[in-house]
Each structure stands twice: as structure tokens, then as C-alpha cells.
């Protein structure tokens, strides 16, 4: 998890909103990639959960992008997606072909915690009060997202305890 080439001490509200939008976009795209991976490997339950998460990230992205548009219209951005590395997105090695919905949700919960840590960890470096306020809001938002995922987890029946590696064939790559 990292962001390259940004001095948080000099971050303006516009930069901060651009960064937040890109973080949500990166997470959304990764969840969609995971959903596609699950589809390719015939795991519809995990696929459906990852699509649900992608939808949530998109909602949040759209809300932040709307706010950015209202405040700064089309002012050029100094932040690009190439600067971001897995801030809220699940890391590629989190996915498994035969992952259960519970494992998929636990992975998403880990991401919400990771994002919370990211925003909380930056607060000391932020000088602009409006940026600090935004980051506090985003940090608290991640707590809300964690609660959503935990609620979904509680609805699930427990996993069988069987490890798919013990009985399933290896995934077919080609």
C-alpha cells in the first residue's frame, strides 16, 4: 500500500479530493478484476460479492468526484492513477480460485481496515485544515464500510472447514 510522489504537507483540497477519487477507482477496478477472475474460474458466489464491493466503491467514487467537480470544476489534476499502489484495493495475492464468500468478505474487510489506516496515518502530516477534515471524514467512512462488511459476514453460514486444496483439481490456466 503506497502513494508515490506526493508531499502530504503541501496537499491542497483539490489534490486530496483527486487522490480520494483515484483510491476509490483503484479499489473498484480491482474488485471488478477479482469478480472477472471468479467468473473465469466458475465461482459465482465470490464473483457476486466482489461485484457488490465494486458497486460500493463506485458509489463512493461518484460522490467524491461530484464534490470535486462542484468545487474545482475541470481544473487539471496533479494526481494520477500511476501514483497509487493498492491503497484500498485488495492485493492480487488475496484471490484464490476456490475462495468461499466468507474468505472474499474477509479479504474486503482487510482492505477497509487498510484504507482506514492509510487516512488515519496521514492526519499528522496534513497542514491544510480542509484537507484534514476531508481525511478525517474518509477515515470515518472506512469504519462505516467495515461495519457493512461485518454485517454481511454475520449473515453467512460458517465455512465447512474443508480446504478446497485437499479435494479440488488445480485451476485450469488455459
Amino acid at each position: 500500500m503506497s502513494v508515490q510522489g506526493l508531499d502530504y504537507g503541501k496537499l491542497s483540497l483539490q489534490d486530496a479530493l483527486d487522490l480520494a477519487v483515484l483510491i476509490e477507482e483503484e479499489a473498484k477496478e480491482r474488485y471488478l478484476e477479482f469478480a472477472d477472475q471468479m467468473q473465469v474460474h466458475h465461482n459465482p458466489e465470490a464473483e457476486s460479492f466482489f461485484r457488490f464491493m465494486a458497486g460500493n466503491e463506485e458509489k463512493h467514487r461518484a460522490e467524491l468526484a461530484g464534490r470535486r467537480q462542484r468545487l474545482f470544476a475541470d481544473a487539471p489534476s496533479k494526481v494520477s492513477s500511476a501514483m497509487l499502489f493498492d491503497v484500498e484495493a485488495p492485493e492480487y495475492d488475496e484471490a484464490r480460485a476456490f475462495m468461499t464468500p466468507r474468505q472474499a468478505m474477509e479479504s474486503a474487510l482487510g482492505c477497509e481496515r487498510k484504507a482506514h489506516e492509510f487516512f488515519a496515518g496521514l492526519l499528522d502530516q496534513i497542514k491544510d485544515p480542509s484537507v484534514k477534515e476531508l481525511f478525517q471524514e474518509l477515515r470515518d467512512e472506512e469504519v462505516h464500510h467495515q461495519a457493512l462488511v461485518k454485517r454481511e459476514l454475520l449473515r453467512l453460514p460458517p465455512d465447512s472447514g474443508l480446504n478446497p486444496d485437499d479435494f479440488a483439481d488445480e485451476p485450469v490456466a488455459q
Binding site: 508515490q4 478484476e33 499502489f85 492480487y92 495475492d93 475462495m99 488445480e170 490456466a173 488455459q174
Partner: protein, 293 residues
């Protein structure tokens, strides 16, 4: 026009096993290409055969998923025919250091301006887990049930020994570092080699996955390594298989001329010496008369 990483992503859905290291590698390649600033139609991707060799299909650049072990000769031909193309070569450790091993030395000695990215997972994953040239000694696989008896090939030492002017290593466990070394390799004027430790989630060793990479990787920069020092690079490269060093092992301080530059120089040198067309035809006519008489 500035490209973003997603501009290099094709609509084709990767069919690698979920959790495969190659997902991170292709992401790092998108980022490196966006940073380099060339457009997809200025780039060609050539690969051999294997899981990692599917990469050309997952980019919007021109691509050729070619023949096992033959990515380098095809890429060399492509670059010679169209020197303005940015040519990237991708493949696995089996493709590059077993069946294609003989081609690596020649690509290096010609110093054709290519970037060769090897996704080294120490196993033949696509064919379900046989020993590969970089499998460690003692590894038990479907073709070595009692453990491999052979020493692994060390790709870093291999290319350094043949005089590769740019040699680096990365892992998708450090995406920022991997994207940076791939970008640097692409920008290097000449043959550049990046060994990517890209674990096989299905047939690879459980204790050599990305989580373990994160725990043990050490950047060469943090060790104070001078990438201009080829002897130090060779010493550090001997840690392959035991340590995970990331970053640039060797960057020739004065890059040698590329094959393309040498060809152009030869063309210029010969241009003034060539006979005019009319004189060549006269010589032919004279020879013909002489043969007829």
C-alpha cells in the same frame, strides 16, 4: 497525448489462476508504459509459450504470442525491421532459460534495443507443475518425486556473464519498485533484462509466495549497491535462490552502441563507396558479353 495505465489494458480477461504473481506484473507493466509515454500503437509485445506469455493479449499494444522459447529471435527481427517500435519481450523461466536459453546470449551480444521481462516462478505452471530450469535443488514436483538433483540456472548471473548492459530484478510484492525498474529498463538504450520473481500460486512453493517476498525482499539501493559496478552486481546476483534483492543490479555507465546504431553507421560508411547504378549495369553488361564470347 498522455496515456494512463488503464489505456494499456485490453478487454481480454486474464485466465491466470487467481492469486498468480503475473497479475501484479502486468499491472506494473501498464504503469511503466504510461510513465514512458509511448502510445499503444508504438509498442509491440512478443512472448513465447507459458502462463506469463499470455501477457501480450492483455495489453492494447501490438502483440505476438509466438513459439516456445523463440520470443527473442522474433522480437529481434521485429526491432531490426522497424527500429522505431518499442519492443518488449515477455516469457517465463522455462521459456527463457530452458528451450530458449541459447537465444538469450545472442540477443545480449547483438545489443538490440529490447526489454526482456522474465516472470520467474521456478516451475512449469501451465503444464501442471514440472521442474523448470530455475527450480531449486531438492524440489519435489510431478517430474521429481524424490526431489530435483540439478542445480538451478541463475538468470541474473547468466545475463550478467554474457555482458547484458542492464540487469534488474523485481517482485509484484513491491509494485512501485517493479514498475520503476521496468520503466528504467524500457528507457535504457540497448538490451535490458528484468527478472521478476512472480510466484505460481498453484504449483509454486507455499513458502515462496508474495507474502514471503514482502517479508524478505531487500532493495539494492538500501544496501548501498552501485549499479555501475558489474563485479558487485555479480557478487549480489549469487544470492539468487537464497535472497530476494530488488532493483537495478547493473546499468552500464556508458551504454554500448546498439545493433541498430552500428547498422546505421555501417550504412553511412559504405554509402560513399557504392558505385553509381549506371556503372554497376555497365559491369554486368561487360561480364555478360565476356561469358557469351
Amino acid at each position: 497525448m498522455n496515456c494512463q495505465p488503464k489505456d494499456f489494458k485490453s478487454d481480454l480477461k486474464p485466465i491466470w489462476c487467481p492469486g498468480c504473481g503475473d497479475f501484479g506484473v502486468v499491472q506494473a507493466i501498464y504503469r511503466a508504459l504510461a510513465a514512458v509515454g509511448r502510445l499503444p500503437h508504438d509498442i509491440a509485445f512478443v512472448s513465447g509459450i507459458g502462463c506469463s506469455s499470455r501477457i501480450p493479449g492483455y495489453t492494447t499494444a501490438y502483440g505476438f504470442n509466438s513459439v516456445h522459447g523463440r520470443a527473442l529471435p522474433i522480437a529481434q527481427g521485429l526491432k531490426i525491421a522497424n527500429p522505431d517500435l518499442l519492443v518488449l519481450v515477455a516469457g517465463g523461466d522455462g521459456d527463457g532459460f530452458s528451450i530458449g536459453g541459447g537465444h538469450v546470449a545472442h540477443a545480449i551480444r547483438r545489443n538490440i534495443d529490447l526489454t526482456y521481462i522474465v516472470m520467474d516462478n521456478q516451475i512449469y505452471g501451465l503444464t501442471k507443475g514440472q521442474l523448470s530450469p530455475t527450480s531449486k535443488q531438492g524440489l519435489q514436483t510431478v517430474t521429481s518425486s524424490l526431489g530435483s538433483l540439478e542445480q538451478p540456472v541463475n538468470p541474473l548471473l547468466y545475463v550478467l556473464s554474457y555482458g547484458a548492459p542492464f540487469v534488474a530484478q523485481g517482485t509484484p510484492a513491491d509494485m512501485a519498485g517493479l514498475a520503476a525498474v521496468i520503466e528504467e529498463a524500457i528507457r535504457f538504450p540497448g538490451f535490458s533484462f528484468v527478472n521478476v520473481q512472480s510466484p505460481c500460486v498453484t504449483f509454486g512453493e507455499d513458502d515462496w509466495q508474495l507474502k514471503q517476498h514482502k517479508a524478505v525482499m531487500k532493495s539494492l539501493q538500501s544496501l548501498g549497491h552501485d549499479p555501475a559496478d558489474v563485479i558487485a552486481a555479480m557478487r549480489l546476483a549469487q544470492g539468487y535462490g537464497h535472497e530476494l534483492h530488488t532493483g537495478v543490479f547493473y546499468r552500464a555507465p556508458q551504454p554500448p552502441p546498439t545493433y541498430d546504431a552500428l547498422v546505421r553507421a555501417r550504412q553511412q560508411e559504405q554509402a560513399g563507396k557504392a558505385l553509381p547504378r549506371e556503372r554497376v549495369l555497365e559491369l554486368f553488361a561487360a561480364k555478360k558479353k565476356e561469358t557469351a564470347a
